[in-house]
Symmetry: C2
Subunit: 361 residues, 2 copies
């Protein structure tokens, strides 16, 4: 990808703590842009939120696709107010639609133990791996239905759909990513012993691709998802690049960050590698209604997502500065600065985000 001169970014705060962390994310992005002379054009949208839904009866306007297609990327907070709008309505009306309709078929999620954050594991070792998650098909199929509704005979069916194209492209992406890393180690999440059709297919394609394309230089292994989660806790430093289906990638990319202390720090890139559609960058945490309004949401996931966005477009210096700023502030670990989820006392979204912003400048 050729690094563009400027970036047009659609900003969507969404709901809950999405609205609270977004301002800090933007301040850090602007700080990096100012320092490194990048032109960022930031346009905020109020759609893709439950507030919008309550006003308009839909999560987004009809022309959302063409509106957002004009942007290089989407900088996204979080969606969901489950007490008011069912989660599957709000999510399938926004985030999951973006992922599918903008063909953001790679979800890329770093899992890294940052300096200064206490891990819940007594011997975490050096946790530093990438989760590569299939992001458009699989278990998140949205097809299926209900029959004999409201009776004893009621049956509900949902289909997991895997396509050759969908599986191969995410496996190839993960294989290439593993090749670019010093450890050259790829671990695939499966469940082919129990889920007897789609999961053996996933295994089969990994075997075929790694043979066909000559990935002999890589160490490739696989774990069933049940024991995989056990290994994440028992020995997380064994992982380098991890690849999984939509659901398994979802699970591993919450569990992994939990082992690094808090999921509040984890970012996520929803990437359309060809750049045909905008990619989307967001924190892994959701709208977190339980802590919303308290001003204590961890802004690091949002800021790190912005860092990934700059990195994605090749703005290496700016991205590097943002990452160093995050690491430095966390390493200092001042308890009046860092948020409670990381062991802070009086630290807030504002204090932590502002401290990172200052380090960037």
């Amino acid at each position: 990808m050729i690094t563009p001169q400027s970036l047009r970014i659609a900003v969507i705060p969404g709901d809950g703590i999405g609205e609270e962390v977004m301002p800090l994310g933007l301040r850090c992005l602007k700080a990096a842009a100012a320092k490194f002379g990048l032109a960022l054009e930031l346009t905020e949208f109020e759609f893709a939120s439950c507030d919008y839904y309550l006003k308009h009866g839909d999560m987004m306007p009809e022309d959302w696709h063409s509106t957002l297609s004009a942007y290089d990327a989407i900088y996204f907070g979080a969606v969901g107010m489950p007490d008011i709008v069912p989660d599957h309505v709000s999510l399938w009306g926004s985030l999951l639609k973006f992922r599918r309709d903008f063909d953001q078929y790679i979800s890329l999620r770093p899992c890294r133990l940052l300096p200064g954050i206490p891990s819940p594991l007594s011997n975490p070792g050096d946790i530093d791996f990438w989760v590569v998650r299939e992001n458009t098909e699989g278990e998140y199929s949205s097809i299926g239905g209900k029959i004999f509704e409201g009776t004893e005979r009621e049956v509900v069916i949902q289909e997991t759909v895997m396509t050759r194209i969908g599986v191969d492209r995410v496996l190839n992406y993960a294989l290439n990513l593993a090749r670019s890393r010093p450890k050259k180690h790829l671990t695939s999440a499966t469940k082919s012993n129990g889920i007897s059709i789609t999961m053996p297919y996933w295994d089969e394609r990994l075997k075929a691709l790694s043979a066909e394309r000559g990935y002999d230089d890589l160490k490739i292994d696989k774990f069933h998802i049940d024991i995989f989660t056990a290994w994440i806790v028992l020995n997380p430093s064994q992982f380098d690049v991890v690849v999984g289906s939509n659901l398994f990638g979802d699970i591993l990319s919450d569990l992994g960050p939990a082992c690094t202390g808090t999921i509040g720090v984890a970012p996520s890139g929803n990437i359309n590698p060809e750049g045909k559609f905008p990619s989307l960058f967001e924190p892994v945490h959701g709208s977190a209604p339980d802590i919303c309004g308290k001003g204590i949401a961890n802004p690091v996931g949002m800021i790190w997502a912005g860092q990934m966005m700059l990195q994605h477009f090749g703005f290496k210096d700016a991205a590097g500065a943002m990452m160093r700023a995050i690491e430095d502030v966390l390493a200092e670990g001042a308890s009046h600065i860092i948020t409670p989820d990381m062991g802070g006392s009086t630290g807030t979204t504002e204090s932590l985000g502002a401290a990172i912003e200052r380090k960037i400048l």
Copy 2:
């Protein structure tokens, strides 16, 4: 259930370390039977193993159902030799067939931090919860297929199937179990924000049942499976009874035991509560080809499964003695007795199993 005078038990060691831990499980069961005057009739079968498959081209003889129906319970080791027989063939030809055809619709799995075993968590707190797993339907449906095989257009589909009957009975079982516990707390695993048909149905049935049947005395909550796995690591002592679909229960019942130090200790009851068919008791760990033949497999999962079997049939004293024996030996934690997965040095399957046997007698 009326406690029977004697038990007829079908013994199926299976493959790999299943064959190594089974003898110790049997010795401990026999010790408990001798001490408390129970009549146990133990009949060993070589089918439901990959060795049997290699000889006969099938995992089990045609009349397996009628043969095993004559027993009160099945005491089961582990199945799988993935280098020789694909896992979905061996498992769907044995264990998963038992669960479905003997309508063992409850999988019951304790997750408890035993004295003396080091947890990988630095602050595990008091981990002590039950996983109640749906065991016959859901994601383990075995229906679906492949189209456009071998071409670019290849599509593979697997259907998750939930029935009103299947969902209600496992939720009711879990609700009742929660009611019998001091904390009276049930947590349901869901993923209704992403898996948009079956999982909202699961949530809906839990809501309906807990309202209909007046479970106001219980604390009932739910987590999406991704954040659920994170909470298991960050705060496992919050859980009391956990209920999940076939797949989610599978994941939580490996991850939970990992947080208690090793999945080698965890047992599993596959229960047909009506007693129309035999229930099956097994360790949670599988055949573990990687450590097979070394004599170091942890026998506690197998022994504890035997303990659950006696408990299930109401042999409380014998079951109590077995549990105390396990706890005492682990609490002593002699490194020449306990197996390496629990921090032992020269301990083996034999030394640990024999120590527990001696304590029972």
